[in-house]
């Protein structure tokens, strides 16, 4: 029910954005994310972008995961 998927913002017009996911485009509301820019990935839930995804944090989390995984190999 709280399902949400990352989609890329293609264009913005007022409170609406055109987003793309896997080659499919649709219009969504950005009333909850006025800070969204073209090129950003936003999290789409029931036709609304509910957050802008932070790319740097995603990379940081992947780095932490790699580090954690490599901790085993030392032991």
């Amino acid at each position: 029910m709280c399902l949400a998927v990352p989609v890329r913002v293609v264009s913005i017009e007022g409170n609406e954005a055109e987003v793309e996911i896997g080659g499919v485009r649709r219009r969504v509301s950005i009333m909850l994310t006025p800070e969204a820019n073209v090129g950003d990935y936003v999290l789409l839930h029931t036709g609304y972008a509910i957050n802008v995804i932070n790319e740097a944090e995603a990379q940081e989390t992947l780095k932490i995961l790699e580090e954690m995984a490599s901790l085993n190999e030392v032991h």
């Binding site: 029910m1 709280c2 998927v5 839930h45 036709g47 989390t61 085993n72």
Partner: protein, 361 residues
């Protein structure tokens, strides 16, 4: 897909499981609050991979499942009113109320339409201006701002035939209610990622402080969940429970301020009726007086028959985490996804539906 595939790496997952095994020295009981987490854990087989010391219980984080029969009965009663068009998320259609379901009502005379978004419900209202269009507003904090946005949009555009049956519920107060019941003796909670995208991580701070229970906000891919379990086990083993965010690409401590402001403009906190738990104070939302003309409960009068619960169904116990689906006598026999007796078998995120689909018995 970007931000999804990277968090499904099998080799990395195996190494994380090994790390959790090394870290975990004592029996640890965790609850994944959110139904989306339950499905992800089942689908990826994580429950079987974790060491025997780490127990994962499913929580009440499925909005369809926790909707009380009394509220489903209200939705069905509204659907029977002349000229009314009901709009609802598809998950709600099959949920049995006391006497029937929305699906059965639609097979009768009722005009009930499945929508993907409140935007679609507004569109139906624009296209049918002589008929009342009521949206069945279930959901947690993830969905509540989208309902608030639709009400504000209806007001701005002067749409006069749009209404909401407000059944929105709040997660931190129900976590408190579960902890107060004291049935579970939890060590940690995997907190819901998309609820937290809106509310942030701060509303969980009372949980480690007052109950000594660890909290980590998690994403939904297998690596997100393993990272969260690792962080919880670390907190629990070190005896220092706190609130951490494992889903940092989406969740900030302060949440989404725009969404929170819209919610606060339209809704005020109210009690809510939770299946299996009952009426919990300050655990739901209602439409503020200023916007009451959009409130279906204010605008229409309906008469309701006494509430009835399905015989033998233990959804309530399952939602509180005290029983699992295979404890239910109806599971896989009288109750299946095709013929559900209780809501936990209806919603794809319900524990019973997830066990039915994924659990190897």
């Amino acid at each position: 897909m970007k931000f999804i595939d990277e968090f499904r790496d099998v080799e990395l997952a195996k190494k994380l499981v090994t790390r959790i095994k090394q870290l975990s020295t004592r029996p640890t009981r965790l609850m994944e609050f959110c139904g989306g987490h339950t499905v992800s854990i089942m689908r990826s087989g994580l429950r079987q991979l974790l060491p025997p010391t780490v127990e994962m219980l499913s929580g009440p984080g499925c909005p369809v499942c926790v909707t009380a029969n009394a509220d489903i009965d209200k939705a069905i009663a509204l659907a029977q009113l002349p000229d009314v068009i009901i709009t609802t998320f598809g998950d709600m259609m099959k949920v049995p109320g006391s006497y029937s379901s929305l699906q059965q009502a639609r097979a009768g005379e009722a005009d009930i339409r499945i929508v993907y978004s409140t935007q679609d419900a507004l569109e139906i209202a624009r296209d049918n201006q002589t008929q009342p269009v009521i949206f069945i507003g279930i959901g947690f904090e993830t969905t509540a701002p989208t309902i608030a946005a639709s009400i504000l949009q209806a007001e701005n555009e002067g749409i006069k035939n749009y209404y909401v049956l407000c059944l929105s519920k709040l997660c931190p107060p129900i976590m408190k209610a579960l902890l107060d019941l004291g049935e579970l003796k939890l060590d940690g909670i995997v907190c819901p990622g998309h609820v937290s995208a809106i509310i942030g991580s701060r509303p969980y701070e009372f949980i480690p402080r007052e109950y000594g229970v660890a909290c980590v906000v998690s994403g939904f891919e297998p690596l997100d969940i393993l990272l969260s379990v690792e962080m919880l086990v670390e907190q629990i083993e070190s005896g220092k429970p706190t609130v951490e965010i494992a889903y940092r690409r989406v969740v900030k401590p302060e949440g989404n301020k725009t969404a929170l402001e819209l919610m606060d403009r339209v809704f005020q906190v109210d009690s809510a009726d939770w299946r299996g738990i009952g009426v919990v104070p300050a655990s739901g939302l209602k439409i503020r007086k200023k916007f009451e003309r959009f409130d279906a409960e204010q605008a229409f009068s309906i008469t309701l028959e006494p509430v009835r619960e399905a015989k033998g169904c233990i959804c309530g116990d399952i939602l509180r985490g005290v029983k699992i689906p295979i404890d239910c006598k109806l599971f896989r026999k009288a109750c299946t996804p095709e013929h559900p007796v209780g809501p936990c078998m209806v919603s794809s995120e319900g524990s019973c539906a997830a066990y039915y689909q994924y659990e190897i018995v």
